[in-house]
Amino acid sequence: MIEVESLRKIFRGGRGLDGFSLHLESNELVGLVGPNGAGKTTLIKILSTLLPPGSGVARVAGRDVRSDPRGVRASVGYLPDVAGVYQDMRIREFLEFFADAFRLKEPNRSASIERALTRSGLADRPEDFVEHLSLGWKQRLLLAKTLLHDPQVLLLDEPATGLDPLARITLREQLKQLNNEGVAILISSHILSDLEDICTRIVFIAEGKNIAEAPTGAAEGSSTPTIRCETEWEGSASAMDPLLKGMPDIRILEKRDRLLIIELPGGSREASAFLEKLLAAGVVITHFDARGLNLEDRYRRAFGGQTR
């Protein structure tokens, strides 16, 4: 649904995209993660035809953004990071305007507007002015407007910015639902817990390049996932040392007193094997917690202390 190959876009200031590639299928909901200035917004703007690409390939729903921008716009729903609304319009007028802007014809036009009103939860107040809506409701209206023309692809740039927790939960549920209906979604966000909850895959981007890629719930972009084990025990603080010496694959993240946090190659099966070894060696375990790396851990590993 989205094909991006060696995409480059350099601005005068230097930031942009530098050979970025991405492939997204119709059943995917992909999160785009990276520090500020990594190129996330530039990528989304190119895919939504707001910016022309410098070089490389960018196709959406089989249409090239350079040679067929109108075709791309017809199949894309784009929600920018800070999207404005026409405050002095009524909710129905706002939706009618965009239905006309997307050239929807009757009876599809009316049906789409009614669907958008229902989808946004504003069906009972279509005559209210947009300015009277809270930020969360405005965001719901904007998403409903973005979906008016039944796009095959949704491009969302920081859609949860400024939303309260309840509005964020609603947005996540809406996106999951849309993805289940077959809409491919590319979402850029700094709220990693949200992405982890809804995305099928995460793409890490920095300085306009692919850094790593990972399915959510699995480890960071390598074929050998890792699992993080936190262990506490009774008795001597050095009781673990002989065991650890015999396990060169593990990575010690933290070790103090009777607490050990390690990273093991593998998944829950390898964590169980590690626990069995400890018990077999007679270590009295008082606490054992094995979890895969969450997105925040993986982000930290991918970007370290890099902030802008």
Binding site: R70, Y78, P80, G84, D88, D100
Partner: protein
């Protein structure tokens, strides 16, 4: 072509503009200013204490005074208003962060431009036509032909349309309304004052070399800088610019049309490439 007429931008723009309080406030102020000016002109023409004629005054002379006062006053006022309506119309979309929604819809750059242009111009036309009863007063007094009234209105519409396209061009270039409006006012000032200064310089030079031809008025190449002066078409039409027999309103209309077309083309091109301003 039909998309230009059934353009959703026009309805949206008119709806938004007419919901603002200035939708009724501006026409009220505009008509008050015109009415005040006409009253002043009437008394100035008829009252000897105010410098008016001491002899018997013909109705036709009063009609002519009222007519010229109204057409020039409304041109001045509308020239002051045109940049406000046009130069802010695209920048407001950028400031409100709604421009991306337009650019990623199926609206084309010409449709976006056309919607903004028609809305800006229609509002100016509303003001212009609301003053028609004042202009027809002149017809009642006599001294003015209906043809002259039509010419004055058509010429004013053409100049305002051209200035509106320049305002829209400025609006497409800048991100902030305050900057685009300042640029549009700068442009109007250059057209109104700089062209007059250049003309005055050329005319003085020509007159000093052609004393015998003074009565005939300066030739076209001397008047040329004025062709882009917003007041020139009216001055040329009604013989009140001291151009003698040789005035060229048609040349001025052509130049304003060309300026409008050029500004429209530049603005549409800039709208198409506005993604970097968002």
């Amino acid at each position: 072509m039909s998309r230009l007429i059934t353009n959703p931008m026009i309805l949206k723009e008119l709806r938004q503009r007419l919901r603002e309080s200035r939708a009724w406030l501006l026409p009220t102020l505009y008509l008050l200013v015109l009415a005040g000016t006409v009253s002043f002109a009437y008394y100035a023409a008829t009252d000897p204490d105010m410098g008016g004629s001491r002899g018997e005054l013909q109705g036709a002379e009063i009609g002519e005074v009222i007519f010229l006062t109204v057409v020039f006053t409304q041109l001045v006022v509308l020239l002051l208003m045109a940049p406000v309506f046009s130069a802010g119309s695209l920048t407001i979309e950028k400031e409100q962060r709604t421009f991306a929604g337009l650019l990623t819809s199926l609206l084309t750059a010409p449709q976006i431009w056309w919607g903004k242009f028609v809305a800006a111009l229609l509002y100016l036309l509303l003001l212009l036509f609301s003053a028609l009863p004042l202009l027809t007063l002149a017809l009642a007094f006599g001294g003015v032909e209906p043809r002259e009234l039509l010419e004055a209105v058509a010429s004013t519409v053409l100049v305002l349309a051209s200035i509106s396209t320049v305002g829209l061009w400025c609006s497409s270039m800048f991100r902030r309304s305050v900057h685009s409006t300042a640029a549009a006012y700068g442009f109007v000032l250059v057209l109104s004052i700089l062209t007059a200064v250049v003309y005055a310089f050329l005319d003085a030079h020509w007159e000093s070399n052609n004393i015998a031809m003074r009565g005939e008025g300066p030739p076209a190449h001397i008047q040329a800088p004025l062709f882009l002066n917003p007041f020139y078409p009216l001055l040329a039409l009604f013989g009140s610019g001291g151009f003698g027999q040789s005035s060229y309103p048609a040349s001025s209309w052509l130049l304003f049309t060309a300026l409008g077309c050029l500004a429209a083309a530049f603005a549409m091109r800039r709208i198409q490439r506005s993604g970097d301003q968002l």
